[in-house]
């Protein structure tokens, strides 16, 4: 039996009745003790130690509330609620490790966790109706399933796994060499996974519409967006600001597109500029648009978040390798940045020279 407190359920809005708030009367033990340990600690996706989090949350919230406003009944009630949750939350049945949607975003799996079971559970084998397919995808398709009226194509998961692992290699390879990866996913619900993947790979994200010409006409569209210069330790280096103003817009070194059907302009621009692309290729997508296709279901948010998470982890691993190598002195190939050393003394002298020149002009102009 799972204990649930009514208070916990209805706690989102402030409870007006003060009769519910009795901070001095103890319903439960004040000490939080762990009476039962969960033997299934190890999960496929590492749990974020939720139990510990709530305990610490209750403690910190209690202390925090005492700082903020002791008198307010809402604050006291909330503190009590958190305390109760921490104490009683784990009492009852033991819940087996299971799929929790938020874990794909908070703690995504890494490339070594790719299994066919995982891909199938994420509905990545489900393709589109057979009448909507792109014949170039034939080699990725396992077969046809479904009722007579509406058969759909099923994507081969071993092919998916192989292509996904290859894509992970590409992403980690690019990040190892200091490249910039751009994650793009403009469908609803893809924003969070795109942002997470970009932050893990220290790349860029885009979850809104791609502005046509961002690469081919970068000077116009991205001209006002700021760039910076970083060293091998990813620390910003000052002194290049005036040179950066003249510099062309930055182009990504790899683009990961989670919905290629809507972003064909982006893929075309990448092809024009020799930028390799990684993308989720469903059965109705033209695979020739993408350099490293991943045949999978682009309509399932779970599948998309899984793939984005895995690629983000691959980027993270690449960044870690690059950082380690950089700290030991082994640098990747030099970027063709065309920058000159920042001449700080030169600017100071130039300023003083200009001032003098200005003064001279004034003197000349005075009648």
């Amino acid at each position: 039996m799972i204990l649930r407190s009514l208070l916990l359920r209805q706690g989102r809005f402030a409870l007006p009745r003060s009769t519910l708030i009795r901070p001095f009367r103890r319903y439960l033990a004040s000490q939080i003790e762990e009476t039962y340990t969960n033997p299934h600690q190890h999960q496929q996706f590492i749990a974020g130690a939720d139990g510990d989090a709530t305990k610490s949350q209750a403690a910190t919230s209690l202390s925090a509330e005492s700082e903020v406003l002791d008198n307010d009944p809402v604050a006291l009630n909330y503190a009590l609620q958190q305390h109760s949750k921490a104490v009683t939350g784990k009492i009852g049945s033991m819940v087996e490790p299971h799929y929790r949607p938020h874990e794909l975003l908070s703690n995504p799996p890494s490339p070594k966790d790719i299994t066919l079971e995982l891909l199938m559970a994420s509905q990545s084998h489900i393709g589109h109706s057979t009448s909507l397919w792109h014949p170039a995808n034939a080699k990725y398709i396992f077969g046809v399933r479904g009722e007579d009226g509406h058969p759909i194509h099923i994507i081969s998961l071993d092919v998916t796994a192989a292509h996904l692992r290859r894509a992970c290699k590409v992403v980690s390879g690019v990040t190892e060499r200091g490249g910039l990866v751009l994650f793009v996913g403009s469908r609803e619900g893809q924003a969070r996974c795109v942002v997470n993947a970009a932050s893990m790979s220290k790349g860029c994200h885009l979850f809104t519409k791609w502005i046509p010409g961002t690469i081919t006409n970068g000077q116009q569209i991205l001209g006002k967006c700021k760039k910076k210069v970083v060293n091998h330790k990813d620390e910003e280096v000052k002194g290049f600001e005036d040179q950066l103003i003249q510099k062309a817009a930055v182009k990504p070194d790899l683009v990961v597109c989670l919905n290629p059907l809507e972003n064909y302009v982006l893929l075309h621009e990448c092809a024009l500029n020799n930028i390799p692309t990684v993308g989720i290729v469903d059965t109705d997508v033209n695979p020739t648009w993408i350099t490293y296709p991943i045949p999978a279901n682009d309509d399932s948010l779970r599948c998309v978040q899984l793939i984005a998470g895995v690629l983000g982890r691959a980027g993270q691993e690449g960044q870690a390798v690059r950082r380690e190598l950089a700290l030991t002195g082994q640098l990747p190939a030099r970027q063709d940045h065309g920058l000159e050393p920042p001449a700080e003394q030169e600017t100071d002298e130039r300023n003083s020279r200009d001032k003098e020149h200005g003064r001279n002009l004034l003197q000349a102009g005075d009648v």
């Binding site: 406003l69 809402v74 909330y78 961002t214 006002k224 967006c225 910076k228 970027q335």
Partner: protein
């Protein structure tokens, strides 16, 4: 009859005679010399041009000089003019090595991960607020009507601050987030959210501009101001016996018209308190009716300071609302504000 060769030869001769540019001297293939022949003639050996002097040092081309040129701070600073300084030395050499190493290690990257959205600062703001909301979404909220009133920045103010092309739809999404964060119960509002919201509030919060409350001072006097048309009246009211002075004169002396006298103390008349309070009024501007009505309003406000529960009664009596009517200006083409000149058929 003539051979084609002869025909061609004659044609060429005619062309050559007519067009001096097409004359071929000697019918020999032209040869262009690899190197231009000196006009003066005689010099067979080809000599190189004199060396370009980059610096003013005499030994810049000497063989014994080290082949690697040290790029010091000074050469960059002076633009290559002041090369006479000493090169090398411990400090200069290290700096030069630093610059080479630096150039080898640096790369140009976007300042924000939202670079390719073309509105990076807006996107970063949106993501920051979304993450705050996600973190604190389970905190108790107040009802929307009870949330603290905030004047958020207008889209134009926000756009000017960010200098980015932002659509109103995008800004409305941001506003929705701000309002939702504002609904968190004030007693549990985290400091980070308070700090984050401060940036989006207008500099001046108009609703904070509240008038000073009218209070009864230590002598039992309440002062209020009333206005009507172009008249202003300052009214002082204190508990007393029912005396009334307007600009130093009694009510009957100041207002010749009974209607004006009555309307001036209408607030007391409607609540049957004429004999309970003493009034001292200073009226200025406008005419008699305007001043009388101004005193009405001022008196009502001051009376509410003494007895706030009289407000519904005074409202029913018509003393609480400030009459906004003013004399309408005269317009061109009309005789008065509205009166038109007589219509003429032709």
């Amino acid at each position: 009859m003539e051979s084609p060769l002869l025909r061609t030869a004659f044609r060429r001769a005619i062309v050559a005679c007519q067009n001096p540019a097409k004359r071929r001297v000697g019918l020999q293939p032209r040869r262009y010399f690899a190197t231009p022949v000196d006009a003066q003639g005689g010099r067979d050996d080809i000599q190189a041009a004199p060396p370009i002097r980059f610096t003013s040092e005499d030994d810049q081309f000497s063989q014994t000089r080290p082949r690697a040129e040290l790029i010091t701070n000074d050469t960059f600073a002076r633009g290559g003019r002041g090369g006479g300084r000493e090169r090398g030395g411990g400090g200069g050499g290290d700096q030069e090595v630093d610059y080479r190493q630096l150039l080898r290690r640096i790369r140009v990257v976007p300042a924000s991960p939202s670079y390719f959205t073309a509105t990076p600062r807006y996107t970063d703001d949106l993501l920051h607020l979304s993450s705050l909301l996600r973190k604190h979404q389970l905190l108790p909220m107040v009802m929307p009507g009870e949330a603290p009133r905030v004047a958020w920045k207008t889209i134009d103010q926000y756009k000017t601050e960010l200098a980015e092309p932002i659509r109103s739809k995008s800004y409305n999404t941001l506003l929705q987030l701000l309002k939702r964060l504002n609904y968190i119960h004030p007693s549990l509002m985290p400091q980070e959210i308070t700090d984050a919201l401060e940036k989006y509030k207008r500099d001046v919060q108009p609703h904070l501009n509240v008038p000073n409350p009218i209070v009864v001072n230590e002598y039992g006097v309440a002062k209020a101001v009333g206005r009507r048309k172009s008249s202003t009246a300052q009214v002082y009211i204190v508990e007393g016996t029912g005396e009334c002075l307007v600009n130093g004169k009694s009510l009957t002396e100041y207002f010749g018209r009974l209607h004006d006298r009555e309307s001036a103390i209408w607030a007391l008349k409607a609540t049957q308190r004429i004999d309970k309070y003493n009034i001292w009024a200073l009226a200025s501007g406008g005419g008699t009716t305007g001043q009388a009505e101004a005193i009405t309003l001022g008196l009502a406000k001051a009376l509410m300071a003494h007895e706030p529960d009289l407000k519904p009664a005074l409202r029913r009596a018509g003393c609480v609302t400030r009459n906004p009517k003013r004399v309408e200006r005269k317009k061109p083409g009309k005789l008065k504000a509205r009166k038109m000149p007589a219509w003429v058929k032709r």
